[in-house]
Every structure is written in structure tokens, then in C-alpha cells.
């Protein structure tokens, strides 16, 4: 018997019981659609987290200056100017540290022509771009010379550019920050939202020295609000944390037994937790969807068993006129496979459609990958063969005389 004949037989028998075939297929459709959808949602969440983590930079610490106590009220991190520019330079000398950026942020109004916009203006050094893995999409970053010479240059985030310049090219233009004229030397590439939903592109970067001496002023010269520190690698992070701790205690002359006047936060740990949680979530979603695929497969087996029983006499006739065991096996197996494959095809279409609807209507981040489609398809085919085999085997093993006698 040729394959095309087996195919015709299988499709005729599927067509003969349309409602039943359709309902069986529905099991597969729902199973595959849910696998595709759940994987899309899970991968969407993972992509979002990975993107946020990547935008933050990798192997990061934040070193904050200490807390102050005023009349028994503890004022919180960063309220005492204990962390200095020199501290950050000393941290940079450590072997386990790749880069350090002192941070002096302050909210400041910016004016260009008729437009104004108030944003977080950050005084920092050129190492900031290494720490954050952040490069300008236009222009250049500021240089150590800019720092030494206390130059009034600024790099702008995308959001600031759109508010102040619109479609105009900002490079080389002069704008005012707190009434000081600054030349725009670069525009930062877009980072999007941070993990906590802040717009990372709503920022302006100026040299640390300029911020200190010309824009914000400071009653404590050399003071740094916080420092962003990038470790040389993920492996040395614990060592880096211990070394920074020792170094700062020593530099701040803190005796044993006394509290630190600074704090070190490991940002990677947070990222790893977030990543682990989304991964667990997407695996759980996938597993739940997998169960519905399994249920669909059992539905196929159920229907195929009914079909074999119902068509026992037909099988007997086919055997009497020359069908071999394999012909019968192939016919029923192909029927199961066709139900599961066409079911999964419709399921993929349904799953992708729902994923698209979810993405467009409620704005959820979903990622449909070819891999997840092939995975769902492959699993469905395997389910079809696996659950189709037993009924097909049962049909093929019938003895012709008994099958013919069956009423």
C-alpha cells in the first residue's frame, strides 16, 4: 500500500466523523496553543528581566555614604557626607575592581531655546560609561581632560533630547543647566525602563568636577553621594565586596566593633533573584501547558480506541482482501498523527494569535520564538505517535476471522 493511499484512507475516516475528529483535535489545539502562549509569556517576562539587567550593567555594586542620626532619628543612607571622591579613586585601585564612577546627582532645570525640562543631572567621570556598559549613540563621551579642566560639556539621554530638541540635532548646541551654558557633546543610546520602572533615558551627564564646582556647589568639597562600582568579574564579587569594606573602614578610621559609616549593595544578587524567579515562573507555565497537551494526547488515544472497536468488521474485511498488518497499523497511526498535527498547526496559529492579542491589548511583553513553536509542534507529533500507537497496534493485531465475525 502506498503512502498516498494510506493518507487518503486516514483523511476519509477523519472526514466521516467530523464532529468527533474536531473535538479530539480541540484537545490538541488547546494543548498546543497553551504551550505556545505560556512559553511566549514566560519568555517575554524573562526577556524583560534580562533586558533590564543588561541595561543596568553587570557585576555592579553601589557604595553609599553613611547614615546620620539627628536627635535619635536615623536619617537613612547617604545623609552624611562620608564618602569622598578620593575614596572612590582608592576603590578603583583595588585589583578586583574594573571601574568606579563617583555619582553626584541633582535635579536641575535645563533650558534650550524656548524649551525647558527638569531632570536628574549627574556629575560623574568617564569611567561611568564602562561601569554601566553605556555608550553614546551620537557624539562622544567626556574625557579625563574635561574633568581636569572643569569643562561645561553634557551628554543627554534620549528622553531629554526629545523634550528639549525635538527633531533637531543636539550635538554642538549650547543649552543652559541652572543658567550655566553647556555644550552637548553626545547623546546616550537608549536603555529604556529600569527594573523598578524608572526611565533611564531621562538623564543628563556632566563631568564630576563641573557638577561640584559650577552647578550644584557643595558645602563639603569632594563629597560623593554614592559610587557605582563594577567588579572585574562575577566570580570576584564576594572578594571585591570584602576588600572595599576593609579599605573604607581603614580610610574612615573605623575601629573594630564600630558600625560602618557606608554601605555596599550588591546589585547582581537582586538581578539574579529576579532572573531566577522569572525562569521558575516560565517553567511552571510551560509545565502546566504540557499537562494540557498530555490530556489532548489521551483524548486522541481514547477516540482511536473507540474507532478501532467500531471499525473491527471493516478491519476484518480489509484483511480478508489482502491488507497486511502494517497497512492497518499505518492507517490508524497516520490518522492519529494527522489529528495531532493538524490540531497542533491550528493550536500554533491560535496560540500566536492570542499572544499577539495579549501583547497589543494589555501591553504584556510576550516573545514567540520559532523554537517554542517547533517545540510545541514536535511534542504534539510525539504525543500523536505515542498515543496513536497502542490503538493502531491493537487494530493491526486483530485476527481476520474474529474481526470479520464481529457485529
Amino acid at each position: 500500500m502506498q503512502f498516498s493511499d494510506t493518507f487518503i484512507e486516514a483523511s476519509q475516516s477523519m472526514g466521516a466523523n467530523r464532529l468527533r475528529t474536531g473535538l479530539t483535535m480541540l484537545g490538541m489545539i488547546i494543548g498546543v496553543a497553551s504551550v505556545v502562549l505560556m512559553l511566549a509569556i514566560g519568555q517575554g517576562a524573562q526577556a524583560l528581566v534580562t533586558e533590564s539587567i543588561a541595561s543596568m550593567g553587570s557585576n555592579l555594586f553601589i557604595v553609599l555614604s553613611g547614615t546620620s542620626t539627628a536627635g535619635g532619628v536615623r536619617m537613612g543612607g547617604g545623609t552624611v557626607p562620608t564618602l569622598t571622591y578620593k575614596d572612590t579613586m582608592a576603590i578603583g585601585e583595588l585589583e578586583s575592581i574594573a571601574a568606579v564612577a563617583p555619582m553626584l546627582p541633582n535635579s536641575a532645570p535645563m533650558v534650550y531655546g524656548a524649551n525647558n525640562w527638569t531632570t536628574q543631572v549627574v556629575g560623574t567621570t568617564s569611567e561611568y560609561f564602562d561601569v554601566r556598559d553605556w555608550q553614546p549613540s551620537l557624539g562622544v563621551v567626556f574625557t579625563p581632560t574635561d574633568l581636569r579642566s572643569v569643562n561645561r560639556v553634557v551628554l543627554l539621554g534620549k528622553t531629554v533630547v526629545s523634550h528639549l530638541f525635538g527633531d533637531e540635532d543636539p550635538i554642538g548646541k549650547t543649552l543652559r543647566i541652572k543658567n550655566n551654558p553647556f555644550t552637548v557633546v553626545g547623546v546616550l543610546s537608549s536603555k529604556g525602563q529600569s527594573l523598578d520602572g524608572r526611565d533611564q533615558d531621562d538623564t543628563a551627564l556632566i563631568p564630576f568636577t563641573t557638577a561640584q564646582r559650577k552647578v550644584f556647589g557643595n558645602q563639603f568639597p569632594g563629597m560623593v553621594r554614592y559610587a557605582m562600582v563594577k567588579a572585574a568579574s562575577a566570580e570576584v564579587m564576594p572578594a571585591a565586596e570584602a576588600q572595599m569594606n576593609d579599605l573604607l573602614r581603614q580610610r574612615h578610621r573605623i575601629r573594630a566593633g564600630m558600625d560602618d559609616d557606608f554601605s555596599i549593595r550588591n546589585l547582581t544578587a537582586l538581578a539574579q533573584t529576579a532572573q531566577g524567579a522569572t525562569k521558575a515562573m516560565s517553567m511552571m507555565l510551560g509545565a502546566i501547558a504540557g499537562v494540557s497537551l498530555l490530556v489532548g494526547g489521551i483524548g486522541i488515544m481514547n477516540i482511536m480506541l473507540v474507532s478501532v472497536t467500531e471499525r473491527t468488521r471493516e478491519i476484518g474485511i480489509r484483511m480478508a482482501i489482502g491488507a497486511r498488518t502494517f497497512d492497518i497499523l499505518a492507517q490508524f497511526l497516520l490518522e492519529a498523527l494527522m489529528i495531532s498535527l493538524s490540531g497542533s498547526l491550528l493550536g500554533v496559529i491560535l496560540g500566536v494569535t492570542i499572544a499577539w492579542l495579549v501583547a497589543t491589548t494589555i501591553g504584556m511583553n510576550v516573545v514567540v520564538t520559532l523554537t517554542s513553536i517547533f517545540l510545541a509542534f514536535g511534542v504534539a507529533a510525539a504525543v500523536g505517535i505515542f498515543f496513536g500507537f497502542y490503538p493502531a497496534r491493537k487494530a493491526a493485531a486483530l485476527r481476520p476471522i474474529e474481526a470479520l465475525r464481529y457485529q
Binding site: R318, M319, G322, A323, R324, F326, D327, L404
Partner: protein, 234 residues
């Protein structure tokens, strides 16, 4: 015509009952059938007619002895070898017609060709020709349910003939038909016999058996006698 088509040698068939007892249904049959013969097998119910029919049709294998069809011994054959033998050598006609109700007449008739590997275009041509031969050439696309019993049996005969078998096995082919239609079907068998086809017909009706050259009487699993009909002697 003296070619031996079928030879049975001490052919026995046992059935195991649920209680573990073994019942012998056929007790060592010996007979030969020559190519071109028209044989009727008669006997009361329970005499082993159907069992013998299953063995002759290669639907079952003997418990003892040998059954040769065109020199091939079926005793040791696997189910697939038997299937292939059925496909090449035997055409079945059943009491209940056993057509596939969802298929058109032409598809029903062509089905054995599917299993014997004939290309699609040839199948349709052969099936159409044979349906013409049995007088149903104008109803190729009808379903079996749209036909009368006699017409369905003609389709079944067409299906039996389609692979050009050596042997037609008919099990009570007129059992479900009225007298007039029965005569038409038997006339068709007579015609096929005149064309040189070997036919074995199982029946319990003497009127039907009269059409055959020889009648084999089976009683309690043994051959009681083989009688040659008068018209065959002439």
C-alpha cells in the same frame, strides 16, 4: 484441465475452549480441487463448514496437516504471508456482502488493488471494467447503501474478481437474497465458471449446490461423501 489448485492433506483444526479443553472441529480432511472446478461444500450447521472455509481462504492456519494452494503450504505462514496469498490468489464473497459503506462502488471494488500495489490510474480502469462486467457500470459513484441486496452482492463479486484470483470463495452468497435474485447471482457464478474460474461455494441449500460440478458433504468435521453432479458428467 488437470492442474491441482488446492490440496488438503490430513487437514485438522482444533479450538481451545476457555475451560482449557480442546475441541477438534476438522478431523483430518484429504481432498484436492483442480483448477477450473466448481465445488459446493454442504453440511448441517456445526459440521465445520465455516472452519474449512476459513482455512481454504487462508484466513486461518490449520492445527495439523497441510493445505497447499498452488503448491504453497500455508501451515507455517506468518499473518503477512497469508495476507499476501489472499491478495494474490483468493477472492471472497460473503453472505453479508461486507462492502465498506462509506466508499463508492468503484472504490470498494478497487480496494484489493490498493493492497496489492496497483497504481492508482490502473485501479480505476480495472475496477470500472469489472463493474461493467457484473452489470453495474452506470453506478460507479453510488454508495453500497443505495443498492439492493442483489446489486451489492454483484459489487462484492466484482471486488473478489478484481485481483484476478485463482479461486473464488463464496460463503452462503445467496443467504441474504430472495429466490429470484439468488438465481441471478448463481447465474453469474455459472458464467464465471464457464470462463474457467475455480469456485468454492459453501451453502446449506441443495438448490444452490446443484449449480456446482461436485458437492462435498461435510458431517461432524469429516468428509461424508463427494458427489459429482449430473450436468458435470456430460
Amino acid at each position: 484441465m488437470s492442474d491441482i489448485l488446492i490440496q488438503a492433506a490430513s487437514l485438522t483444526k482444533d479450538y481451545a475452549l476457555d475451560e482449557g479443553d480442546i475441541v477438534r472441529v476438522l478431523h483430518g480432511l484429504d481432498f484436492t480441487i483442480e483448477a477450473g472446478e466448481f465445488l459446493a461444500i454442504m453440511g448441517p450447521s456445526g459440521s465445520g463448514k465455516s472452519t474449512l472455509m476459513n482455512l481454504l481462504g487462508c484466513l486461518d492456519t490449520p492445527s495439523g496437516g497441510h493445505y497447499f494452494i498452488k503448491g504453497e503450504d500455508t501451515a507455517e505462514m506468518t499473518p503477512d504471508q497469508l495476507a499476501s496469498l489472499r491478495s494474490r490468489q483468493i477472492g471472497f464473497v460473503f453472505q453479508g456482502f461486507n462492502l465498506l459503506p462509506r466508499k463508492s462502488l468503484i472504490d470498494n471494488v478497487a480496494l484489493p488493488l490498493v493492497y496489492s500495489g496497483v497504481p492508482r490510474l490502473d485501479r480505476a480502469r480495472i475496477a470500472r471494467a469489472i463493474l461493467h462486467e457484473v452489470g453495474l457500470g452506470d453506478r460507479l459513484r453510488h454508495r453500497p447503501g443505495q443498492l439492493s441486496g442483489g446489486q451489492q452482492q454483484r459489487v462484492a463479486i466484482a471486488r473478489a474478481l478484481v485481483n484476478k484470483p485463482s479461486l473464488i470463495l463464496a460463503d452462503e452468497p445467496t443467504g441474504n437474497l430472495d429466490t429470484k435474485t439468488s438465481e441471478d447471482i448463481l447465474a453469474l457464478f455459472d458464467r464465471l465458471h464457464r470462463q474457467g474460474l475455480t469456485i468454492i461455494l459453501v451453502t446449506h441449500e441443495a438448490d444452490v449446490a446443484r449449480h456446482a460440478d461436485k458437492i462435498l458433504y461435510l458431517i461432524d468435521g469429516r468428509i461424508d461423501r463427494i458427489q459429482v453432479n449430473a450436468h458435470a458428467i456430460q
